[in-house]
């Protein structure tokens, strides 16, 4: 780690421990060991957790002055020596020990000050809050656990100016962060700055002034420790659990404004043990690797070097950076647009009589394109409209529209782009008076007169996307910016670029093979009515409902790690031809309530996948024809096996394993892994006409790929055969390849 920081922190720790030792000696002489110690806030409301940091770390109860000797000795024993001149890479652990020693010493000092009646601090007639009471900890703790308040920001020092101080606090509050204030820089405290600007401080405004020295920062650690006691159910002394609780559940950080000194570094080291990173607005060394904190440990962001038009914008970016470094997820309570928003409007149709403007559709130019960018390329919430707005369009006009969305996130992956892009449809339809159809470069939007009359503008499309991506996909999306283009040449130019990307994506998905991945995904969404059914979804076979591809499942798992799409590690391969893996078998066994022991991915006859009831198609063997038939859900006709889709569905559905019968998605027929064990598409002797038509082009390609270009003409459908008696002569006449293939049974 940084030698500079280690040296400074250890020096700071030694200093403050010495200070605590001297103060304790003096206090013991003057007050005696039996003076009670109690931390209380300015209203006199206290805590039942003694000196909470010491209690949390060691389980040691400090009830009176004499009880402080043990933790003081503990702190002294933790103190490492200052790294020598030629030790260039000091060990992080020693600095952390110094940090813990610092927190112990600071809490001892505050305890003694309380015994002497010197706390909470009073300065120029203003009484600081001091430590936070248990009552308040409980009330805020619940909000921290339920996510309405992600964590706290310990602001240390003073901002560049009073205006910046106010802006920083307002920005932190807007992200739901609790704000703790302490220490000074160059003799100024942020508390002074805020008071001068008339900002009200206190529990009610979620801003708590601790004191004007760095020692009072320890109250923040005391608050965090008590949150872990109450809401993590963690016993005092179980320091490891307390620190982990805070690392993963309390989204706190230190924001250091102004020059750093030894004690600030030492205190910062203590904060890092809790997983709380420090962001400094001055030039300091970084500690970037992830480890004790979730992401970076120390980040330097010199205030005047932050890009921005003015200090206000710089302050905003500084806070934004803090949010990123701590990994705080923003929830936006409401879609802030002038029309109603909700699922009730999803099916809404905007008719011509009520049409204010439309984009895309027949002869229109419209596209939507979502791209993953680097963290620093995206400014969260930035919405730009390039070109004219509604007021410049004639009523009923068809306008060009390009919707370009840039997202970034620590857990975002390039492969999630199409998954998120498809959400645009769902999100936009939620707005009253907005109709959205299709996606990509065939997207078609209609805006109603009444919506535009209420003040709905194109900009609001951006608001809808920004809000919903954060709220629904916050697990993978950290920042979203949206640009809407309405100038024809610009839209056409960008659409050209977008089309290149669409093609690349399609090629990538088409090129994704089962062999290239070591994990498949499960879908147990249907267990509500087919309790023993498990879908295993591989890159070359979508879920049998047609709604979930392997990529969708992977994204769904990132978004909702406890949801119905779980990773299924393939494990050892049992049979590459049948597509049987140990990992898949054991997953299916466990999740089918121990009903299905074996499961092959590539065979219809040997332990095929089970079916819930949602499949788009059912496949069944026709032994007489030595082949299989496929009937689609929308095909109501009788089939050669003597059953309609519905009857077949009843036979195969419900999570049963039925060799020779299987539910699947329409698209599966075009997969290279379409029943390869039985010979692939050459086995298909009958196929619902609507599927033939819907996938005409794709099927043609598949037949060519399989070396049977005229196969489609040889496959029967409901118009030529609904019985085996009708089917066989047709196949004979056409010379269907299945007739001469090896017996399917």
């Amino acid at each position: 780690m940084s030698r500079f920081i280690a040296t400074s922190a250890i020096r700071g720790a030694q200093g403050v421990v010495k200070q605590a030792e001297d103060m304790l000696k003096d206090a013991l002489e003057k007050l005696g060991p039996d003076v009670p110690i109690a931390l209380v806030d300015k209203e006199g409301v206290g805590t039942t957790y003694y000196l909470p940091v010491i209690y949390g770390y060691s389980g040691h109860k400090v009830e009176k002055l004499g009880d402080m000797t043990t933790p003081l000795e503990h702190a002294k024993s933790l103190l490492p020596p200052v790294p020598s001149e030629n030790l260039w890479l000091p060990y992080l652990g020693e600095t952390m020990d110094a940090g813990v020693a610092t927190l112990f010493a600071e809490e001892i000092i505050e305890g003694i000050r309380f015994a002497k009646g010197e706390q909470p601090e009073v300065r120029n007639g203003y009484k600081f809050n001091g430590p936070i009471s248990d009552v308040q900890t409980r009330s805020w703790g619940i909000q921290m656990v339920d996510g309405s308040m992600p964590g706290f920001a310990a602001v240390i020092g003073a901002a560049k100016s009073n205006e910046v101080a106010v802006k920083i606090v307002r920005e932190l509050q807007s992200k739901g962060q609790l704000v703790f204030l302490s220490s000074t820089s160059n003799g100024r405290s942020i508390v002074d700055q805020l008071l001068e600007e008339g900002v009200e401080l206190g529990y009610q405004t979620f801003t708590v002034p601790f004191g004007t020295d760095t020692i009072s920062v320890v109250y923040a650690a005391g608050y965090a420790t008590r949150a872990a006691f109450s809401f993590g159910n963690i016993a005092p002394g179980n320091w490891r659990e307390i620190l982990l609780y805070n690392k993963f559940r309390c989204f706190a950080f230190a924001l250091c404004l102004g020059p750093m000194d030894d004690l600030k570094w030492a205190t910062g080291a203590g904060a890092i043990t809790y997983g709380f990173p420090a962001i400094c607005d001055t030039v300091v060394p970084h500690i970037l690797p992830t480890g004790i904190t979730k992401y970076e440990h120390v980040v330097s962001m010199p205030f005047d070097d932050i890009p921005g038009r003015d200090d206000m914008e710089r302050a905003e970016r500084l806070v934004q950076r803090c949010i990123e470094v701590r990994g705080i997820k923003i929830k936006i309570p409401k879609v802030d647009i002038p029309v109603a928003f909700g699922p009730a409007f999803e099916g809404e149709v905007v008719r011509r009589e009520n049409l204010r403007a439309e984009a895309g559709g027949k002869g229109g130019t419209c596209f939507e394109w979502l791209t993953m960018k680097d963290m620093d390329e995206v400014e969260d919430g930035k919405i730009t409209v390039v070109g004219p707005e509604f007021d410049s369009f004639e009523e009923g006009a068809k306008v060009p529209l390009g919707i370009v969305v840039d997202v970034t996130g620590r857990k975002m992956q390039k492969d999630f782009e199409p998954v998120l892009e498809r959400q645009i449809h769902h999100f936009m339809n939620g707005a009253e008076g907005v109709q959205h159809i299709a996606q990509r470069d065939i997207a078609w939007l209609r805006f109603s007169k009444s919506a535009v009359d209420k003040g709905f503008s194109l900009r609001h499309l951006g608001v809808i996307l920004h809000t919903n991506f954060h709220n629904d996909f916050g697990a993978i999306v950290d920042k979203v910016q949206i640009t809407l283009y309405t100038e024809l040449d610009k839209v056409e130019e960008l659409r050209k670029q977008a089309r290149v990307v669409y093609r690349e994506r399609d090629a990538r998905i088409a090129g994704m093979t089962d062999e290239a991945v070591d994990t498949y995904y499960s879908c147990t969404l249907c267990q509500s009515f087919a309790p023993n059914h498990v879908c295993v979804i591989n890159p070359e076979r979508t879920g049998l409902c047609g709604a979930y591809s392997w990529l969708d499942c992977r994204a769904a798992f990132e978004i909702s790690p406890t949801g119905p799409n779980q990773p299924v590690p393939k494990g050892k391969c049992i049979d590459p031809v049948l597509g049987e893996w140990e990992g898949v078998n054991s997953f299916v066994y466990e999740h089918s309530n121990r009903n299905i022991e074996r499961f092959t991915i590539y065979s219809l006859m040997d332990s095929p996948m089970t079916t819930c009831g949602c499949c788009e198609c059912v496949m069944a063997i026709i032994p007489e024809a030595n082949g299989v038939m496929i009937v689609n859900r929308d095909d109501y006709s009788m089939t050669p096996c003597g059953m309609t889709f519905t009857t077949l569905m009843g036979t195969v559905g419900g999570g049963l394993q039925t060799p020779g019968m299987m539910g699947h998605a329409k698209l599966f027929i075009t997969s290279k892994k379409f029943i390869p064990v039985e010979g692939g598409i050459k086995r298909v002797v009958w196929l619902s006409k609507n599927v033939k038509e819907e996938f005409a082009e794709e099927l043609k390609e598949v037949c060519e790929r399989e070396g049977v270009p005229d196969l489609m003409d040889k496959i029967a459908d409901g118009t030529v055969a609904t019985t085996v008696e009708e089917l066989l002569p047709f196949l004979e006449e056409k010379g269907h390849p299945a007739l001469t293939m090896e017996p399917i049974i």
Binding site: V145, F231, G232, N233, R249, T524, L525, S528, T562, P564
Partner: protein, 317 residues
């Protein structure tokens, strides 16, 4: 005649045991089953299913005259009501903070504190505390109720996906049990249990309400879902192995068969008998599906259910 051998299923899982009350208050433990309901020959059923009587913090305005007759004056006083419910044999009082509903008084945290405190002092059996069923208000009044009842290990509900963190946090902080309610769906029920555990609530501090309809109003759907949940639990899935609680009273008494005396076909018979039967059959079916706690409204149902449970829980049943 050849002896018939009864097939015995060997289950690997067991329902978690959840304790309510204690700490000076009588305690009730539910769960612990290692077989399907009442199959004594197959596994162990260490705890009796129990009955909770619904008590409201304000006088109900739309209740059936039969319920009003049965309870009389106490309807206006939650403490007296709770006391009387205990006399009628309730194992648990299910206090519903209905007055916090925006359309039924919109009272807040202070009123909740007062009423919970009153009922806690009036009875020495455990409490279930329900919010008005509007997420925002639930959070407000249940957090307050939780604080007042700290250490008394009450059950707080309902806890749904949208407010589960708040309820879980307050349960952890004050040592209570959360009632996770999901809309008749196995996955959602399981997922909510996982989410509650993720927040840090222990497995023995969660009850599941799978949501039910009354007899004739979707009861069979809940029955299947509960059965599936219990089968999964017995099969070894710890995240479906929470004891189940059902609200038979509320569901039955809002259906026309129970609610209305006038204008019904003569063949439907005596109104009171019909209404009681409705609540009773609903409650019994849900016990048979695996419910551990049943919340009912009429004292008569308590008596009838207790008699049935007595018989079914005797080893010779």
């Amino acid at each position: 005649m050849a002896a018939v051998e009864v097939p015995i299923e060997k289950w690997t899982g067991k329902v978690h045991e959840v304790t309510l009350g204690g700490n000076g208050r009588k305690s009730v433990v539910v769960g612990g089953e290692s077989t399907l309901p009442f199959l004594h020959f197959e596994g162990s059923l260490p705890r009796r299913p129990v009955i909770a009587i619904e008590v409201r913090d304000s006088e109900p305005k739309d209740w059936s005259p039969h319920l009003v007759d049965a309870w009389g004056d106490v309807l206006a006083d939650p403490a007296a009501w709770a006391k009387k419910a205990m006399e009628y044999g309730a194992d648990i009082i299910a206090l519903s903070l209905r007055s916090a509903h925006p359309e039924e008084g919109n009272t807040g945290a202070d009123e909740a504190r007062k009423n919970v405190d009153k009922v806690l002092s009036a009875v020495d059996i455990p409490l279930i505390i329900y919010g008005p069923g509007v997420a925002e208000k639930d959070n407000e009044v249940l957090v307050a109720a939780s604080d007042v009842a700290k250490g008394q290990r009450v059950a707080l509900g309902n806890c749904e996906e949208k407010n589960h963190r708040t309820i879980a946090a307050t349960c952890i902080a004050d040592g209570h049990v959360a009632i996770g309610k999901t809309p008749i769906e196995i996955n959602l029920a399981k997922q909510l249990n996982i989410l509650l555990c993720d927040v840090g609530l222990s497995r023995d501090s969660i009850l599941m309400d799978p949501t039910t309809g009354a007899l004739g109003y979707g009861l069979e759907y809940t029955y299947s879902v509960m059965e599936r949940l219990r089968l999964a639990a017995l099969g070894g899935d710890a995240m479906t192995a929470m004891p189940m609680i059902c609200t038979a009273g509320e569901e039955s008494w809002r259906q026309k068969e129970a609610k209305f005396a006038e204008g019904m076909p003569e063949a439907w018979g005596d109104h009171l008998e019909r209404a009681l039967t409705w609540e009773e059959i609903t409650a019994f079916s849900l016990f048979a599906a695996g419910a551990d706690i049943m919340v009912v409204r009429h004292p008569g149902t308590v008596e009838r259910m207790k008699a049935v449970i007595d018989r079914l829980m005797s080893e010779s049943a």
